[in-house]
Subunit: 372 residues, 2 copies
């Protein structure tokens, strides 16, 4: 278990009047333990859970076939209760664990936005006197401010994404295909130590206007604008970096639009700091972007870490003061420029004590990248 995370969690649990908390989603299991249960995100019935009591006891619940992996990754001496995959007794094992820790009548935080209603009913049947309350907001709030270990992972992932995209662009040219970009990109992220990736976007030429599209056999030609994005992962964490490039030379309007997106990026780097209002930042961005007279999307950034998107959003729907330790994916972009191409510049930014730091600093994006 992560001692610094558990210490913060215990304070939050005390304020919320919780006797215990059970993390059950892949991201919150990873948040408390520091590692992923291998196939939990792939097969959602393979519940992996982490119990924390108000007095600081901890225990894990694992499916039998992952127990040896969990045991190897957990701190030595960690209590691990094992349930049997083909007996479907995860909730029975969790209920027994709660009773063993004197929690049969306790007030217990759980993730009601993750735990399926059928599992909840089984759990409730087995500890009917316990009171279960939603704990996802408490966990999400804690996760917004990253620990130094989390920041190091996100810094590393930002570099992996940024460098892999840049090198993938440098390995291709007119006549290469989107698949060449994809092959170089996937090779690059694994070679630099990523464990996996979630979502790869390779959108070139007329396809560059589409939000979430993967690579095809489209052949790059002179004057194409390309959007390439990837979310490499380590230990459950994601970075998201997107880079735009032109093949050979920028088409008309591309430099002008890029100059605005670059100005937006520098504006954001100027205004992101502790205490800044997330909504006000979005408003300032909209003001700067307005010079283009092209359609914005409904946010310019969002928290990122154990999920692709986390709070806070830099957008119109909420208003939250930023805090040191937050990590944001920030993305000035225009999908539909009206000129047959889209442009996007997504960076990873850490809120520091005095301002912010660009974590994705491998490629200088001030000038539009031209792939020759």
């Amino acid at each position: 278990m992560r001692q610094d995370v558990i210490a913060r969690l215990l304070r939050a649990m005390k304020q919320a009047g919780l006797d215990a908390l059970v993390a059950i989603s892949p991201e919150n299991f990873a948040y408390l333990t520091g590692f992923m249960s291998p196939t939990q995100p792939l097969m959602r019935w393979r519940h992996a859970m982490a119990l924390v009591t108000a007095d600081g006891r901890t225990a894990l619940v694992s499916v039998d076939m992952e127990a040896s992996t969990i045991r190897a990754k957990a701190t030595s001496g960690t209590e691990i209760a094992v349930w049997r995959e083909f007996k479907f007794d995860a909730m029975t094992v969790l209920a027994d664990l709660l009773r063993k820790h004197g929690l049969a009548t306790a007030r217990i935080g759980i993730e009601t936005d993750y735990l399926p209603v059928g599992d909840f009913a089984a759990l409730h049947d087995r500890v009917p006197q316990a009171s279960f309350v939603p704990a996802q907001a408490l966990l999400a709030r804690l996760r917004q401010v990253k620990t130094s270990a989390e920041i190091e992972i996100l810094r590393r992932l930002s570099r992996i994404a940024d460098r892999s995209i840049t090198e993938a662009y440098r390995s291709v040219g007119a006549g290469s295909s989107e698949m060449d970009i994809a092959a170089a990109l996937t090779r690059g992220i694994y070679e630099q130590g990523a464990e996996y990736f979630k979502l790869m976007i390779v959108a070139t030429g007329e396809r560059s206007v589409f939000p979430n599209v993967g690579p095809t056999d489209r052949v790059l030609k002179h004057g194409d604008v390309c959007r390439v994005e990837i979310f490499p992962m380590i230990a459950g964490y994601h970075a998201g970096v997107c880079r735009t490039a032109a093949i050979g030379a920028a088409p008309p309007q591309a430099e002008r639009i890029w100059a605005n997106l670059t100005a937006c990026k520098h504006l954001l780097l100027d205004v992101i700091k502790p205490g800044a209002s997330s909504r006000k930042i979005y408003d300032l961005y909209l003001e700067k972007l307005a010079a283009l007279d092209l359609p914005p999307i409904s946010f310019v950034g969002h928290g990122i870490g154990l999920h692709l998107h986390e709070d806070p959003y830099l957008g119109p729907t909420e208003d939250q003061p930023l805090e040191a330790g937050m990590v944001l994916g920030v993305e000035p972009l225009i999908y539909e420029t009206g000129f047959g191409f889209g442009m996007q510049n997504k960076d990873m930014i850490l809120v520091t004590q005095s301002g912010c730091e660009l974590l994705s600093d491998y490629l200088d994006t001030d000038a539009l990248l031209i792939v020759s």
Copy 2:
């Protein structure tokens, strides 16, 4: 919506006494509609749902930011109710849709193994007179027997996986790294039309004994045994194929172990047919494998399609007669041979009217593949 799937579903709903059914998991949404809601599997709060009533009316529920994609993919004229991401009103919109279709007091099947307890509570509050019953078993049962369209996707995916692994092996040799295999493999699956992949295993030399490990910078050397597996995806469907190869020459014992795994494969191809008992098949496999005196795992195959693992399992924990149209991932394997390497031969097999058909037939695996 898929008319053949809906027709079968309506019969099953009638037998189960359901007035309506709401599919809400990514796999069952894709099962009914024939396509994925793009980011639903990546961000679980982005609910995409499909409603089917006992008299055959259908409607979809989509988050605002995916609505245009859903509209483009759905049959023209499909009713689509849209909820607003940052208003978190998916259950309100679903409840309104249920009322609009006269289902406020109906008996409605839902996936209680997917719908989070918090969402269920919100839904129940808004249609308190409706009765919600678990429908996941009904859907899983239907999904076991594939339609001809599903079989074609799985046939294509089996070929993509098999051919990509084979060509990745042919592109490397002693001195190449696991990353070279990964780069060729990911390029190969996208180039052949996969949209994504879930899980890539590249485990060579001493790493070949580990179940679920990705590629590293390990350099291949003469005599290495390699296990390579990938699950490419199209429209939410997966194929899983694993191939084992030796670099330059097979080490001692490898040919002997492979000959047994090959004999197991042919045994399985002989006994898999409609009416065969899933448990009996596992018992026959264990008998054949016993000649090696090496440890088996707890199943030799499982259904596959919209999930990596589906029922039926060919294992000791259940017994189900096979049916024509089932597609199985079948995998004779020994992770820990005791000789410093593991071996695995995972194929995709379709149960036909009279027997079975090997879908992953690109590489002849009877003799161990030697990479020169």
